[in-house]
């Protein structure tokens, strides 16, 4: 059971209150109409799915209803940091 710090509520809360919405930092292409099918497929379906450090988005469903980012080790499940949407992670995977 993950214990997640919500950067908006500013405290640790239980996993039940949140919903993970997948890999973070996947920006919607600015000009979708000029994307190829492959580029569009990449945007909607293809994921890094790393074993190790991953940046992902969480939604504080029952709390403040804000999305935010989490850097988590998908192997140990350790949460390394949380940061707001629009910010960049400090902890990143090597290589």
């Amino acid at each position: 059971m993950l214990h997640i710090y919500c950067p908006h509520c500013q405290e640790l809360r239980e996993e039940e209150e949140f919903h993970c919405s997948g890999e973070a930092h996947i920006a919607r292409p600015l000009d979708p109409d000029n994307c190829t099918d492959a580029e569009w497929g990449e945007y909607i379906f293809f994921r890094k799915n790393p074993r190790g450090i991953q940046h992902e988005m969480w939604y504080h469903t029952t709390g403040c209803r804000k999305f935010f980012n989490v850097t988590r080790d998908t192997q140990t499940y350790e949460i390394k940091e949380v940061y707001k949407i629009g910010e960049q992670p400090k902890v990143v995977a090597e290589g």
Binding site: M1, R28, C35, M57, Y59, F67, I79, I85
Partner: protein, 1006 residues
């Protein structure tokens, strides 16, 4: 039978409180404070089970959670049956009823045992993979027999009447185990001001000290325990949970504890009490002080009743005042177990010999035993046990220095009890639950917890520390360390005084060799519950199952209800020995929750039956109940499905509801629709981005239907959104999709377009929504509303107005899902029932008829309107649905779904497209889900053209109607397709427009 093995005095049982219990149909006596196991032993009951594979008689071997054999069926009544209760963990209470789970006709004389003897030889590990294959058709029969033989206890046949619950806890420090280490840790942290929870599975705190004869501060250890417990009990920030198994230790220091609140005193929880409670604990720090389990040694016929773990024997004597036999042979690899010989002798019974595998044992306890005149056979081992239903003697042989070979002569000793000790295995289980592998310690001759990423400390037996003074010191240190990490000023706690006992070096030995090779020696059991023997493990490795995980899975070692607490390390050692590897190289299997088994009911808590999931009600719910609605579950909502009148079939009710609506006026409770209030200057632009159609020109006072797609261009929701003000809209969503749509809007706003000035707030529950529909709806509304001009040219189709209905301020939307003149009245939900009832008061003369979801579906299908989730399944674009009118290609912003719909596969020909379907025989209603083919003669698998998504009897049209999908359907109007049914019938249908009624839409525009 008398309690022939009960001592006159001593132990923690209360001899003034005699209890009666029933085992295998016979009555026995025990005392308050007994476990079922101690009471059975007191009464001289030897056999408590038959082994699973060979059906050999089995007795009690241990005294705690690690017991593999004494697994009983408990329960005095049918509803209170509990399968597989460990006799060593169940406290005795008056009237307790239990029985052995295997053995036919009884465990005492078991016929299967005969089979076991005959067939046993043919049942090496994995034998079932090698046989029962021929003939193929016989497997189900073989399987039936296998299944009947398998399994221990049985499930109850009547429902559990007890209550269970779950409580969420938070603490600074969770201490698992209340032995000396845990108590010291808890005390130290608590004195430092920490919020502490301490739990122990046993009935009393104290751990090993409850069965030990050691002294602390010059007093019996139990007195010291009582003092600490009393101090902890006074501290408000300490929660003490005895009889509470910490069954799982999960990520981020989340633990679950199963607190047994009543089943130590009765079958069924006393009225008003909760039988078991699960605590879900989030701890900042955790101290694991779970102690160690003693390992028995593996030797020939070591499963004959009377073979026990040495410390268990001591526990029965010291804690329960029960000596489980008369003549003891003790085999040990270490000094510590000599205490058992002393305890046995002190109980006034004969110690035949101590058999020590070491050649030259010399510690303090060894000397004490020698001094008592007890024979000590050194450099020796018990290689075989005689006796069938109880030990009658042992064969002892000299061993080589490593304990690998029998060297000396074999001598026979007669005895009725064999206690063995191969050293101790730290209880590392919880430390492994979150994915950490334990590491081998040569010093402890056992696995200790591996390094954890969690805030976890360990103390005492779990770290391989057994000397009491060190255990206490480690406990205190862990408590202090936790306090310091928590930012508290760690309290200094004086370490209690205990006498140190000097001990000789233990020997690392697990498996006692026999004069014969293991494959031919008498069976040497490693895992009793699954009948795994040393020979079986050797065979498995010989066959190539070399990884310890393969050994586990091939032999079933550690698969039982005890999860190999007693046998695993021995099995790993034997595997290592055969492979010529070290134990750490061989490794362990994975310990996982639960530490000991937990009742499903306890895990489920209150979330069963009526509370399994919320039932969501609208403001008019009471009226629906009173008016006989049948219900449809829509998400968590309870929605009226239809309202049958006395004696009506469902179809009759639907026909009546449909006709009433089409001919006069019907009413639907539409409150469950999701509603989102949207405000901000960019609200309109935002709508344009999340809907597929255009919103730029929707004027204040107007409503518009919209489709929502994912980035893949597939429709996932729809609804009407109305412009309340230039910067103000209210969006409706499907009942089931409301939460998802809300999150969807927030997702795009917060992560993609945060610069847009728009806010969303759910108002689903705030508005009660009732739709009156039918040619008389205007008349009806006009009777209750005089401040809206209802004139058709003033309040047009797809307009909304604010006004007062039945005295209540309302927003009235002239939208229609039925194709009739309709008004959707929205009022603040506290007034919903009032307005609803007023409508009925006035509606009687128009035969105002309530209709439910089913009639709504029929009426909309007559109009060809889709239901998202029924007619869509995530694979349809708006174009597939024939709704290109709802897709705008001139919006400047590439809205969500636009690019997705343009992908190669989404624009190809012959996609499945939504059409109407008319059966050739109008009386026949197509079943929903039926699949169309062009030709019924084709071989299977057939070319399927598409399915029927909605299908009804239309009373209005006096025929059946259906919506469905057909490959390339939009270009196939008028063609015939065939629907083969399960019973061989084929329904013929013609592809047609999905709009069956009033294609020009005149009825809603009146």
């Amino acid at each position: 039978m008398s309690q022939k093995n009960r001592l006159q005095s001593g132990g923690r049982v209360d001899r003034s409180k005699a209890l009666t219990f029933t085992y295998n149909g016979r009555q026995y006596k025990g005392y308050q404070g007994d476990s079922v196991a101690s009471a059975l032993l007191a009464n001289g009951v030897d056999i408590v089970a038959r082994s699973f594979k060979y059906s050999r008689p089995r007795g009690i071997v241990a005294a705690g959670a690690e017991e593999p054999n004494a697994v009983l069926q408990l329960g005095a009544t049918e509803a209170t049956q509990v399968p597989n209760v460990r006799a060593t963990q169940q406290e005795l209470y008056n009237g307790l009823v239990c029985s052995a789970t295997n053995g036919w006709p009884s465990v005492e004389s078991d016929w299967m045992g005969m089979m076991g003897k005959l067939g046993g030889k043919m049942m090496p590990p994995g034998f079932y993979y090698k046989t029962f294959m021929f003939p193929q058709s016989m497997w189900p029969t073989y399987e039936k027999f296998i299944r009947q033989a398998a399994g221990l206890g049985r499930a109850p046949k009547e429902r559990d009447q007890d209550e269970y619950d779950i409580m969420n806890q938070h603490c600074d420090l969770m201490v698992v185990g209340a032995g000396p280490a845990g108590l010291m840790a808890a005390l130290t942290a608590a004195r430092s001001g920490a919020r502490v929870i301490i739990a122990d599975e046993q009935s009393e705190f104290g751990g090993h000290l409850l069965s030990s004869r050691e002294r602390i501060e010059g007093k019996p250890a139990a007195d010291w325990v009582a003092g600490i417990v009393a101090e902890l009990a006074k501290m408000p920030e300490v929660t003490m949970l005895p009889r509470s198994v910490v069954n799982g230790y999960h990520d981020h220091n989340f633990l679950t504890i199963n607190e047994n609140r009543t089943d130590y005193m009765s079958d069924k929880a006393p009225e008003g009490q909760v039988r078991q409670r699960m605590h879900r604990v989030r701890a900042h720090w955790v101290v694991l002080a779970t102690g160690a389990h003693e390992r028995p040694l593996v030797f020939g016929n070591n499963d004959v009743p009377g073979c026990m773990v040495a410390s268990a024997v001591s526990t029965y004597i010291n804690r329960y005042g029960v000596v489980p036999g008369n003549k003891l042979v003790l085999m040990t690899t270490n000094d510590n177990a000599y205490q058992t010989a002393l305890d046995w002798a002190d109980a006034g019974r004969e110690v035949v010999a101590v058999v020590d595998t070491r050649s030259n044992p010399q510690g303090e306890r060894v000397e004490a035993v020698r001094k008592r005149g007890i024979k000590v056979l050194t450099g020796s081992g018990v290689i075989d046990v005689q006796g069938k239903k109880r030990v009658s003697g042992v064969s002892v042989a000299g061993l080589d220095a490593k304990g690998e070979k029998v060297t000396g002569n074999v001598q026979h000793l007669s005895c009725d009890t064999v206690a063995s000790s191969g050293g101790w295995s730290p209880v590392v289980h919880l430390s492994c639950h979150a994915g950490v592998r334990p590491v081998w310690s040569d010093e402890a001759i056992g696995f200790v917890p591996g390094p954890s990423v969690q805030n976890q400390l360990i103390a005492g037996g779990i770290s391989g520390t057994y000397a009491l003074d060190k255990v206490l010191a480690e406990g205190a240190k862990a408590g202090q360390e936790a306090a310091a990490k928590l930012g508290l000023q760690a309290a200094e706690v004086a370490l209690p005084n205990v006498r140190k006992v000097s001990e000789g070096k233990p020997m690392a030995l697990y498996h006692i060799p026999h004069t014969k090779p293991t494959s031919r020696a008498p069976k040497q059991f490693v895992d009793y519950q699954n009948d795994v023997t040393a020979a079986g493990i050797e065979l498995a490795t010989r066959e190539g199952f070399e990884s310890i995980e393969h050994v586990k899975r091939y032999t079933a070692m550690g698969f039982g209800t005890d999860q190999g607490k007693l046998g695993n390390i021995n099995g790993m050692a034997i595997t290592a020995a055969v492979l010529g590897k070290s134990i750490p190289e061989t490794g362990t299997t994975v310990f996982r929750p639960n530490y000991t088994p937990i009742a499903f009911g306890a895990i489920a808590g209150r979330n069963c039956g009526p509370l399994f999931e919320p039932k969501r009600f609208t403001a008019m719910h009471k009226w629906h109940v009173e008016n006989g609605a049948e219900w449809e579950d829509v998400g968590q909502w309870k929605r009226p499905w239809y309202y049958p009148k006395q004696g009506e079939t469902m179809q009759q009710a639907l026909d009546r509801e449909c006709l009433a609506t089409r001919e006069s006026v019907g009413i639907l409770d539409a409150s469950t629709l999701g509603k989102i209030d949207i405000q901000g200057k960019d609200a309109r632009e935002f709508l344009g981005r999340v809907y597929t159609n255009a919103w730029a020109k929707l004027a204040v006072g107007k409503c518009r239907y919209g489709l929502m797609c994912g980035e893949d261009g597939m429709v996932f929701d729809d609804g009407v959104t109305s412009c309340l003000g230039e910067n103000h809209f209210v969006m409706t969503t499907t009942s089931g999709g409301a939460a998802h749509v809300m999150e969807w809007l927030e997702l795009y706003h917060q992560t993609e377009w945060p610069e847009m000035e728009v806010y969303f707030t759910s108002v689903t529950d705030h508005w009660a929504t009732m739709t009156i529909s039918g040619p008389n709806s205007r008349k009806l509304l006009s009777e209750l509303c005089d401040d809206i001009d209802l004139d058709k040219d003033s309040f047009k189709f797809m307009d909304w107005r604010e006004g007062t209905v039945a005295g209540v301020p309302a927003r009235v939307f002239r939208i229609s899902f039925t194709g009739e003149l309709s008004y959707e009245i929205n009022v603040q939900a506290n007034y919903g029932l009032h307005v609803w009832e007023k409508l009925f008061e006035h509606g009687a003369k128009y035969n105002l008829t309530p209709y439910g979801t089913e009639t709504m579906h029929i009426l909309r299908a007559e109009k060809g309107f889709i239901i998202a989730g029924q007619d869509t399944d995530g694979s349809m674009t708006p174009i597939d649905l024939g709704m290109s009118w709802c897709v705008s290609n001139n919006k400047p912003f590439s809205y969500i779904g636009k690019r997705g719909m343009a992908r190669e596969d989404c624009v190809r020909d012959h996609r499945k497209q939504m059409v109407g379907l008319k059966t050739k025989d109008p009386k026949v209603v197509l079943p929903e889900g039926a699949q169309a083919v062009a030709d019924t003669k084709q071989p299977i698998p057939m070319d399927l053209l598409g399915h029927v998504s909605s299908s009804y009897w239309s009373a209005t049209l006096n025929r059946s109607i259906a919506l469905g999908f057909i490959k390339g359907g939009h270009d196939r109007m008028g063609e015939t397709v065939y629907y083969p049914l399960a019973d061989g019938r084929v329904i013929e249908a013609e592809i047609c427009s999905p709009i069956f009624l009033d294609p020009k839409g005149e009825r809603q525009n009146v």
